[in-house]
Point group: C2
Chain length 258, copies 2
């Protein structure tokens, strides 16, 4: 029975997609069977694993959301990493938010598809867009837990109250089991006072839910997506790859402790 995890923070550019791809790829390297689900109309997760320029008529997660998805084909495809799969997105997803608003069970559209996939994977990671709209809501309703990436800066810290508020509302009405699995500090430059101050505030607020693994700012993480590869395939000796491999180890240790 696979565990479903949304990677979410409505603050933009905090490393959601980079975390989803590289944590998932590191777990696949550790012989887990992992599925990535791209719920961002930007399609960065899909291109980050080199699956963006496919046939125009190829099906995507959009088709699962709009059609009656309790039966029928689910367009999951392989990636370059053994054991890592992706349910891709493309620009069609931009229109989904308005189209779904008029559909029945509009918050449960993705869950219907995810529940049919759950038993085929150890872990399913869902990448979300930088907003608290219907696409992110669908991801939160379909998930067992949430990983919150955040850079140690003021605007990201300020946005946490909104995110926690949204998670509480989803817990109370749509998905009672949803919980914050972990908070991950990304793009970290420990030399700055700002990073040290914000990190202190995050640890006070979230306690031991903050991963001890911290992802440093590392240009290899910015370069890897342009080659359509997770960083462990692009440059496994880089600080970025080492950090995500360490995160995967911590993630597995915490899972066993549960």
């Amino acid at each position: 029975m696979g565990k479903v995890i949304a990677v979410s923070n409505q603050k933009g550019g905090v490393g959601k997609t980079t975390t989803a791809i590289n944590l998932a790829a590191s777990l696949a390297f550790a012989d887990k069977r992992v599925l990535l689900v791209d719920m961002d109309p930007q399609g960065n997760m899909t291109s980050g694993v080199g699956r963006k320029d496919r046939d125009k008529d190829a099906q995507t997660v959009y088709d699962c959301l709009i059609a009656d998805s309790t039966s029928g084909y689910i367009p999951v495809i392989e990636t370059d990493v053994h054991g890592l799969f992706v349910l891709p997105a493309d620009r069609q997803l931009t229109g989904a938010e308005i189209e779904m608003a008029a559909l029945p069970q509009r918050e449960f559209r993705l869950k219907q598809t995810i529940d049919r996939l759950r038993d085929s994977y150890d872990y399913i990671f869902i990448d979300t867009p930088p907003s608290l709209g219907l696409l992110t809501l669908n991801a939160l309703v379909a998930s067992d837990a949430v990983i919150v990436p955040l850079n140690a800066e003021y605007f990201a810290l300020e946005g946490l109250a909104d995110l926690v508020g949204t998670l509480r509302r989803v817990q109370s009405s749509l998905n009672p089991g949803l919980d914050i699995l972990g908070v991950l500090l990304t793009m970290h430059d420990e030399r700055t006072n700002l990073a040290q101050q914000v990190t202190r505030e995050i640890r006070e607020f979230f306690g031991d839910r903050v991963y001890s693994t911290i992802i440093p700012r590392n240009v290899r993480l910015g370069e890897a997506p342009s080659h359509g590869k997770p960083v462990i395939l692009y440059d496994v000796k880089s600080k970025g790859a080492e950090a995500y491999l360490a995160l995967a180890r911590e993630f597995i240790t915490r899972e066993h402790a549960l």
Copy 2:
């Protein structure tokens, strides 16, 4: 007759809010009368100028969008910078996108308010959220031109096609005069190959619409918002402040050349 400029890029975390605040503040320092309009439910622009924790009942841009805004009070307030004003946002704006979808003229709601303000300012800058939904659409319809901030990384480059496509659609149906005023490279680290490669591609694509001023990565720009101040008030000698003052000079030179 003031010029209205949207600061927009659906890619998250590329420096939209930082650019809107610091370019506007630099122009106010040059004796221009400038209005900031916050159309992002995160309210980062509002907190970045120190106006977030106001009275819960205080009116915001939300009230202008939802009410019939051809008459009545517009809640513009002063900032700590002489000549710089702000039409603030708060979390209520999150609901506006769904509420406006059902209203008449839903893309023109902001324009009705902006057109009543235009003659009181030299420049009006509108900050937008990291999406291409109804809030961003309202900002593009209300504007004469768009400034596109972008960090020299792969995902930001990839998103440009979507942004340019949206601008073309807005030009052809809702706002024929809308044009890209300039593309600004932000958070720039010229030592990396990635930045050099992406910068070359941006200049090929946009030609002389790319500002020659480049904003470097500078921690003072990350610190200033936690003090509720534009960087020219927080640390005017920093590289970040110097860069935005240089951008303001280039902006004014280009305006005169038009």
